[in-house]
């Protein structure tokens, strides 16, 4: 049986007038990597801070490991690891000291702590930098240190808030692989991001957030299955007439035809051989066209369909 690690119920958080989280609910189940996907400003960080009881909220209930999460719920806090959105380290302590300091807030036993620190250094690949001060680290390494400080105490629940922002692709892959490894070792993960590719690649379940609301949730496949859009065809076309657009819309399964510059975007709601039918039309009318691509739906399409706007900006 899957059990709930986190349960957020009808969370509402206002910053003065600004409604940041709007009756948001979610559950996180034992052993999963839950992706919290939403554009900048959709309320992901605010939700995380409420979950950690760092922020007061206006309404709602939050339980962690089945118990009410409160600012003084130290037993719960002790089992959570946080990797905040912004790098949160101490600039006058070295890499190893930083990890040791934060780890020491959770683990009193010195021997065990030492072991944990070593493991965290190993996992984040910071071995050769252990004596470095954060200032000397590159952006990617700094992110890795930020992660190491949050996970050294081997928490059961780890929250990553956009850990790959401004990170080079190599570090990014190392980070994602590290998260998978922690998950394999038994940690439940909450992963927030506004990069859908990342979430799609990493997470076993996804919650899409927009303007503080939970607008959709499920596995990638489930989310895509709920879409009207099944295929998007893009075609370079020098001259496009209203007639062409009208004709294309007549083709079976084509539900939207849009012109963007010299590109025609055709969306289909299922069916097979859509591309063939469309190209057939152009051949028949003897209209020349350039490059043609076809895409299966992405989470961006899910977001687009639900909110009417693009996820990436």
């Amino acid at each position: 049986m899957e059990s709930e690690i986190v349960k957020i119920d009808q969370l509402v958080k206002r910053y003065r007038e600004k409604l940041a989280v709007d009756h948001f609910s979610m559950e996180v189940r034992q052993g999963e990597i839950l992706g919290l996907l939403g554009p900048n400003g959709s309320g992901k960080t605010t939700t995380i801070n409420c979950l950690l009881s760092l922020l007061k909220y206006d309404k709602g209930n939050i339980t962690v490991f089945g118990k009410a999460m409160r600012p003084d719920a130290y037993d719960l806090k002790g089992q959570i690891g946080v990797v905040p959105q912004n790098v949160a380290v101490i600039h006058t302590l070295t890499v190893a000291e930083n990890i040791d300091f934060f780890c020491g807030l959770y683990i009193r036993d010195k021997k065990k702590r030492k072991q944990c620190v070593e493991e965290a250094i190993e996992m984040t690949g910071l071995g050769e930098y252990r004596k470095y001060y954060p200032k000397k680290l590159s952006g990617g390494l700094l992110r890795r240190l930020n992660i190491a400080c949050g996970i050294a105490h081997r928490p059961k629940l780890i929250i990553f808030d956009e850990p790959t922002v401004a990170v080079d692709p190599q570090s990014r892959n190392a980070i994602l692989e590290g998260i998978r490894e922690m998950n394999r070792q038994g940690a439940t993960i909450i992963y927030t991001s506004h990069y859908m590719e990342e979430v799609e690649e990493l997470c076993s379940r996804i919650i899409i957030m927009d303007r503080g609301r939970n607008v959709a949730e499920g596995t990638t496949a489930q989310l895509k299955a709920s879409l009207k859009n099944r295929e998007t065809i893009r075609m370079d076309l020098v001259t496009c007439t209203d007639e062409i657009i009208r004709d294309l819309k007549e083709i079976n399964h084509v539900y939207e035809v849009k012109q963007e510059g010299e590109q025609l975007i055709i969306r289909c709601d299922g069916g097979t051989h859509n591309l063939l039918h469309i190209m057939g039309y152009f051949e028949e009318k003897n209209i020349p066209f350039g490059r043609v691509t076809t895409e299966l739906p992405t989470l961006n399409d899910v977001f687009l369909e639900i909110t009417g706007k693009e996820l990436r900006d």
């Binding site: 922020l55 600012p71 949160a88 101490i90 300091f101 020491g104 807030l105």
Partner: protein
């Protein structure tokens, strides 16, 4: 947990180049600059204790006459040498010519004092008058009923009196030492900035690392007190280094055993730290915290005589309440009284004021900082 946080706080703050520069190096540098400015004046300051020549412009007999008489005879080094003048013009002239250090003048019932240069001499003259005014009622009553006993009464009065202490020490500490007292006060109050840095590191609403810190299972009181204690220790050490540097590096004497000085500067350091904690409790923006800390340090230490040594004495004779509430003036006054008069009433007044201010700010700040979650981060 407490030790873990305490030790790491010390380690990280000691490596903070800004704080090393401003809390340790800068005061030492300023002390050196002061030393080259007027170090020599301190070393051979002519103001050793001697009998103070003072003028007296008298209209009618008053119990004050007896006080002056008592203070100017009956001992081997009398405190005062009183010369009477007919009118203020004459007394003024004597003061100008350097025959006296000041004069007392009767204006009806009131007696006031005019002094030349501000310094220990003038403080003594002021205090004699102040003490007289405090005891006036008693002296007047005695004067009426038992005129013969008034000399004894004056003796009793002076016994507990600190203004007679230089007589006991038989020397004064140079007025220029005041600059160094103020400097120590400034350094202590810079501790407030150190304290805001410390506080921001453990507060989720002030820094990123604070968010991480407050996500951990640490009692707020543990982190708060470990932090405060670590900065009190650091500031105490910084102050100690400054004191040692002045006394043994620059060879300028505080005039009393150094442990007494260190005790005062440690209390002063703790006061500076709690002022910072208080600022941190009220203001959450880092830039503002720093601005407030530095502004408080500069203004209060200026008023205690950092740039212009006599300002504290002038405030004392005109609006003494400012000196009672200005933390830098408390610390400066404490060291001044200690150096010139020893462990006297005024010394304890300032010392206790510092302790009371420290404890009060601490309690208020802790009450504010106790909360563990915030409206906004």
């Amino acid at each position: 947990m407490f030790c873990h946080i305490f030790l790491y706080r010390i380690k990280e703050l000691l490596r903070n180049p800004w704080h090393l520069a401003w809390n340790l190096i800068f005061p030492l540098g300023l002390a050196t600059a002061f030393f080259f400015g007027f170090g020599n004046l301190i070393k051979d300051d002519p103001e050793q204790f001697t009998t103070i020549p003072v003028g007296y412009v008298k209209e009618a007999d008053q119990p004050f006459d007896q006080v002056l008489t008592a203070l100017s005879k009956d001992r081997k080094d009398p405190i005062l040498k009183v010369s009477e003048y007919k009118d203020e013009e004459e007394a003024k002239k004597a003061l100008r010519d350097g025959d006296t250090k000041g004069y007392y003048i009767q204006k009806g019932e009131e007696i006031s004092v005019v002094v030349g240069r501000n310094g220990v001499t003038s403080t003594t003259l002021h205090q004699i008058l102040k003490e007289y005014e405090n005891q006036k009622r008693v002296l007047e009553t005695i004067g009426k009923k038992h005129p013969e006993k008034i000399a004894d009464a004056v003796k009793t009065m002076e016994k507990g009196q600190e203004f007679l202490r230089p007589h006991v020490f038989n020397k004064y500490t140079s007025v220029y030492m005041n600059y160094f007292y103020s400097l120590i006060a400034m350094a202590s109050l810079y501790g407030s900035w150190l304290a805001t840095t410390m506080l921001s590191g453990i507060s989720a609403n002030m820094s990123e690392r604070g968010k991480r810190f407050e996500s951990a299972p640490v009692y707020k009181m543990t982190s708060l007190f470990a932090g405060i204690l670590s900065t009190v220790l650091l500031q105490g050490i910084f102050n100690g280094i400054l004191v040692f540097y002045i006394q043994y590096g620059l060879h300028l004497s505080f005039g009393v055993p150094i442990w007494q000085v260190l005790m005062v500067t440690t209390v002063g350091g703790a006061m500076g730290i709690t002022i910072g904690v208080f600022i941190g409790a009220l203001v959450k923006k880092r830039g503002l915290q720093m601005a407030f800390s530095l502004a408080v340090s500069m203004v209060t230490s200026f008023l205690s005589g950092l740039m212009w040594g006599e300002i504290r004495q002038i405030i004392e004779s005109h609006i003494p309440v400012i000196n009672r509430i200005n933390p830098a003036a408390m610390l400066t006054g404490c060291l001044y009284n200690l150096g010139n008069y020893g462990l006297t009433k005024n010394f304890y007044r300032d010392l206790y004021s510092m302790v009371i201010l420290t404890v009060t700010l601490l309690l208020v700040s802790v009450a504010i900082l106790r909360r563990r979650n915030y409206d906004s981060l």
